[in-house]
Symmetry: C2
Subunit: 448 residues, 2 copies
């Protein structure tokens, strides 16, 4: 069973529901929407990501022999259910905000319209994919805003939550404006630019640090960025400077140094002076080590002469807000709008659309969430992406998505673009048509 694409990567209650829908012949059209109920206090906006993986999942959905054997063997379901599963495919329609779109609470980023069993089954994995990439894209966008013009590189694989998290974090960060990743497989699978320097262990394995630098440069002349903090950073930068003439005479140019610990602003300042004094003005300074967007802002404010940043754990775990209140809720069944009223979890019913209006300076002005068909001024953010289980357009390139994300970030109202909570949240209006629908339903439920 393929860990990534198996339909058994779901909650058991989805299979129980599926069986029940089949048994009761509840196969009418259901409409589910995926949205975030509330933004974390540390986020002024979110950025949609993960749609590509979600559509791959829907297109590839099928129960293989191993999965059917599990269902048969689990002793929960009758044989008829196994036969139903064997022929199950996703044949529904999907509407979504394109990846890289900035969005806010209560705005659906995905709408699935399919027969009830299909639409139900896919819930767990759709959230699993789109929630995580959105978590990371929103986190990454903050670093992009905090350090404009700097090269940002995802260094997070080792402390990402498993293999897929490492890969999808690289993708989401690249969408949001990172320059690349250290994760090789993210290049092999997604074409994301990949960056790498050298390891502390290489320096430690030598008795002499300068010798380690020389050996490294000669063995890998394409990648002469030297890791200088294994013992004493300034001393190591001086060793790099001293080594430069010999390497240059061999045709090897020094690309730069990487700082990975200590007072990065001070060390970057002295490293810059040492490099400049040695005539190495082209050599860059790259910094890493427990960085996040707050540290980036601090280093930018101090004017630290750092050209790029490697950001790992805080990015890939989105450490300050590692999850969103993301849900996938039934909005309509058999033509009738549906609503959940659980305390603190009530949902707006029906198929919805989000309209965004812009100010004269092209910044976002206001969003309106309304029922589909209630046309409002502004741009409709949800667009059709899949019909009858088939993508409507070829896959977007990551470059297209990156350009969209950059354009979106450029149009954020200034109050939302900072790292601190905005004085006022972005205005998202629930349109009268949607309030009316909810009110009608509540009266219906109370009476029922």
């Amino acid at each position: 069973m393929n860990l990534i694409s198996s339909p058994l990567l779901t909650d058991l209650y989805q299979l129980i529901m599926l069986h029940t829908y089949f048994a009761r012949d509840m196969r009418e059209t259901a409409v589910f929407e995926l949205f975030v109920r509330k933004l974390p206090a540390q986020r002024n906006f979110l950025m949609a990501a993960g749609l590509e993986q979600a559509l791959d999942f829907l297109e590839g959905l099928r129960f293989g022999p191993d999965e059917l054997a599990w269902v048969e063997g689990c002793a929960l379901f009758p044989p008829q259910f196994v036969r139903e599963l064997a022929s199950l495919r996703f044949t529904g329609d999907v509407f979504a905000m394109p990846e890289g779109t900035i969005f806010f609470a209560n705005e659906p980023i995905l709408r699935v319209v399919a027969s009830m069993p299909q639409a139900q089954l896919v819930e767990s994995r759709l959230i699993n994919l789109m929630h995580f990439e959105t978590v990371v894209a929103a986190k990454a966008a903050r670093s992009v805003l905090a350090a404009p013009g700097k090269l940002l590189v995802d260094f997070g694989l080792r402390r990402a939550h498993g293999a897929e998290a490492g890969l999808l974090a690289a993708r989401a960060a690249y969408i949001a404006g990172y320059g690349g990743t250290a994760t090789v497989l993210a290049n092999a699978l997604f074409g994301i630019p990949v960056f790498g320097t050298m390891a502390h262990s290489f320096v430690q394995a030598h008795d002499d640090e300068a010798q380690a630098f020389a050996d490294f440069a000669r063995a890998f002349p394409k990648g002469t960025v030297f890791l200088v903090d294994t013992y004493d950073t300034e001393a190591a930068v001086r060793k790099v400077a001293a080594l430069a003439p010999a390497l240059q005479s061999e045709g090897i140019a020094i690309k730069g140094v990487r700082l990975d610990s200590g007072d990065l602003a001070a060390l970057a300042g002295s490293a810059r002076r040492i490099l400049d004094d040695a005539g190495l003005r082209e050599a860059t300074i790259f910094a890493s080590g427990n960085l996040d967007e707050y540290r980036l802002r601090e280093l930018m404010t101090l004017g630290a002469p750092i050209d790029g940043f490697g950001i790992g754990t805080s990015l890939v775990t989105a450490a300050d807000a590692p999850f969103l209140d993301a849900v996938y809720k039934l909005q309509e069944y058999a033509g009738t709008p549906r609503r959940k009223l659980s305390p603190g979890k009530a949902t707006w019913p029906g198929r919805k659309q989000v309209y965004r209006r812009y100010r004269s300076d092209s910044c976002f002005d206001q969003d309106v969430v309304t029922v589909e068909g209630d046309s409002r001024p502004g741009e409709a953010l949800l667009v059709p992406v899949m019909r009858n289980g088939t993508r409507l357009e070829p896959k977007e390139t990551l470059e297209t998505i990156r350009r969209r994300a950059a354009a979106q970030l450029a149009r954020l109202p200034p109050g939302l673009a900072g790292l601190d909570p905005a004085a006022e949240p972005y205005p998202v209006e629930i349109a009268p048509a949607l309030r009316d629908l909810a009110g009608q339903m509540d009266r219906g439920v109370s009476a029922g």
Copy 2:
């Protein structure tokens, strides 16, 4: 390329280092250890997990045709490197703390002894696997301690960080004492007991909630746990009670109800009364909805009549401490101990062992970290698990690991077993022999 087992699931600098080690013929034996430098403020202890997946990874390590083609095509490395990679296997030795072992800062949980290129290459994925499972096992153990005797079920797949995170979180939680998971594939792959009830959408898709319950019970008589919070929890429990006689006459027993929102303690109390009044004393009450170990402690203190808990997002993202300062550091190369001195990141050198002493009541008394060979009183926690790239013992069953974890939790000093930070951290002594070695090396480094 298999996303889970590909050797390209690594950082580019590992390949750069590998190439450099091959080019400089640096193939002597390296010793790396994996440890956590510092515990998060919210953790009094950690629990080792993920060794099984780490050993699987080491045993299966090889570059397939697609991976070799990527290396050849990336234009960074010479053809000789591709040939080296084609024949690369992991042939080293591994020592580890068995899964389920409780450990503390600066205590290695894994030691890899292998030729330098092999030992280096595996760093990223070894941390990626063992860090995450350890993060979740440590988090899950806190719920187990907070709600002794209760059934705890992992509900986290949808907001786990990708597919592998969902699966490995289920495994780590089960090791720590959870009773099971909602994730079907975790049962199919690991044999973890799987639990599931019903969906809000099923209730919403019916015009009448009581009808939804009746339909569900008749279609799935084995799983009559009713989700009662879609509209009004107490009203729904009364509907379940009213339905009971009819279902019982059909031979269907009501197993219980699930609360998923609202004031769980109050609702559990009234649900219990309604069920008892209807003669449904055997029906259980299961609660879920934004739970974590603090909420569990609160509900236990209130004496809420809840039999089991579904815990999702907070568990699988370890939301209050989503990462550990876990590292994999070179301790020895070519027979000589090695040490990194970066500010705040200095490591204790050499091959190490951890000895644990117990009090007369069998609680943990003190740990000592020392150099291998410096025998100390107490139990040696690191044991050999792999020699020449082959496991020394068959895989442990999850039941064996669970029993170990339970025994470890039972031996925690009471001050460490609470949810709040311990007044005093558990004592971990760095032995004189280890301090001496570090001192000798520092004098050597200063002199060099």
